[in-house]
């Protein structure tokens, strides 16, 4: 934020020089690298989150990350480690509770209380760490400053491990997500799969939090894959499409945040939400228009985003 205020960097309407100027700062290059890693990982894990309707679990895990990050800062460790430690621990705890993470039912008062208490703990750590009150916004709403080389390596290693595990369990997980009872009847370990997936979700949430902050993880974890799933019913298309949307949203958000005084969390959420709304509108138009043609949902109308746009036009 202070960079733009100092007048060091003004948008010149020449994209080539603008990007050159922006990438002449090592922290900006790191932010783009980290953003790419995080966007791809979040879209991959988020694809299953949307499919399994576990958005509420993602929200809870992200809230848990806030006291983790502020606690890490309080004891003098990089906030990234705090996110990982708390999000992964919370994922294990949620996985142990039967029926938790769904967001409805009688325990909603309990979940609400636990969320508020964890946020209050984070606030306590921030208050105890004197002179850091401005930093609370960065932890809650994201920041692209302060991502070092070591952090990028850590993010990349975690992302590779998570993606490898996801690739290994992808097929049975997809089956178990779409039809848990049939999957269980075919002797698939449905319960173990959901535990593994929650741990992967914890890692992905911890990564996404480092760009979007604890409160805006939806922007990378849920919105891009949800947009992609609206545009295509086929997994082979919507999975990479979600990664592409996530990457575009993150890099555009970082660029916009660099050239304006506004925080990166605002831009990433706005771009991601705009993509989601456009996709919904395109889908509605496609179904309304294509009602006479091939039936929607069979894969014939929505193969690629271009197909949807053509159908809408």
């Amino acid at each position: 934020m202070p960079l733009a205020d100092a007048g060091l960097t003004a948008w010149s309407w020449n994209p080539l020089t603008d990007i050159q100027v922006m990438w002449s700062y090592p922290f900006m290059v790191n932010a783009f690298r980290a953003g790419a890693v995080i966007a791809v990982l979040s879209a991959a894990v988020g694809w299953f989150v949307v499919l399994r309707r576990q958005t509420f679990a993602a929200h809870t895990l992200a809230v848990v990350g806030f006291p983790g990050a502020s606690g890490a800062v309080l004891v003098g460790v990089a906030s990234g480690y705090g996110y990982f430690a708390f999000c992964l621990a919370a994922a294990v705890v949620i996985a142990m509770l039967p029926g938790a993470g769904q967001g409805h039912g009688e325990e909603s008062a309990l979940i609400g209380t636990v969320q508020a208490f964890l946020l209050a703990c984070g606030f306590l750590f921030v208050a105890l760490y004197k002179g850091f009150l401005g930093g609370v916004d960065a932890l809650l709403f994201g920041s692209f400053l302060g991502i070092g080389d070591g952090q990028v390596v850590l993010l990349a290693v975690v992302a590779v491990v998570v993606l490898a595990v996801l690739a290994a369990v992808g097929r049975p997980l997809l089956f178990a997500s779409v039809d848990p009872s049939v999957a269980a009847a075919r002797a698939l370990p449905v319960r173990a799969l959901s535990v593994v997936f929650l741990v992967l979700l914890g890692a992905a949430t911890a990564e996404a939090s480092q760009i979007t902050g604890s409160l805006l993880v939806f922007a990378l974890l849920v919105m891009p894959p949800a947009t992609a799933q609206l545009l295509s019913p086929r997994a082979a298309v919507s999975l990479p499409l979600g990664m592409l949307i996530g990457l575009a949203v993150t890099w555009l958000g970082l660029t916009a945040a660099y050239y304006s005084p506004y925080p990166v969390g605002f831009f990433v959420t706005t771009f991601a939400f705009a993509a989601y709304v456009l996709a919904r509108a395109a889908r509605t138009a496609a179904t309304a228009f294509g009602a006479r043609g091939p039936r929607p949902g069979t894969g014939a109308t929505g193969g690629t985003p271009h197909a949807v746009e053509e159908a809408a036009a």
């Binding site: 929200h59 309990l110 609400g112 209050a120 606030f123 306590l124 009150l133 919105m223 969390g265 991601a272």
Partner: protein, 281 residues
Amino acid sequence: MIAALSHPFFLHAVLAGTAIAAAAGLTGYFLVLRAQIFTGDALSHTAFTGALAALAVGWDLRIGLFAATVGVALLLGFLGSRSKADDVAIGSAFAWILGLGVFFLTLYTTHRSTSDGNAGVSVLFGSIFGLSASAAWIAVAVAAGVCVALLVLARPLLFASLDEAVAAARGVPVRLLGLAFLVLVGACAAEATQAVGSLLLLGLLAAPAGAAQRLTDSPFRALALSALLAVGEMWTGLAVGYAVPGVPPSFAIMAAATLVFAATFLIRRPDTGTAAVTATA
């Protein structure tokens, strides 16, 4: 502790806090009973954005707070009965609203020369020790109004919450009651934001109500207990926040509320919660 009351800021905090806690305890009980506790979550997002939007255009923070929370509560009321919207759409919309709040926060802190840099933090986590005398009295008046309105509505609202179909058949205006209740929740959320902040108001609504529901089966006793617990937790939190340096009062209030709720899980009861509540009503 008596000496603390000689400080005007502490006196204002106790006055406003008591009224806000009582209102939050009463509304929270109905929210839990009607399984609408996540309305509180939605309101906490909009309260933040509303307050900062008002600050950014130079209005009083409370105008934005009340407009946002009551408006969204009404919107949720109208949407809720019509269709079951999916969690992805709702979650995305509220995440974006929160992102918009950050935009207003930056707009406020960078473009208004008279602004204080901690406006975002005090909206998110409350600043009950910073209330002026007039702000405290307005808070007391609004919270008392919410309490009175809820007590007037309590009987039909309880009926409509426990068995909507039968209540509607008996001529209770179920839909109107639901909307009126959501408006009261909105007003209560706007008040609670000034005490514990928009991020923590969910806890103030949920914890005392959840504890009261675990402790007693009678709805009216639970309603009173929820309000009493909320007030007690508020006083404890304020006292701890005053006595222990470095501990923010909103954390102390949340910690007291969470401890009480956690303690209720240690008490074994012969029968389980909601089924018994339905049976007695």
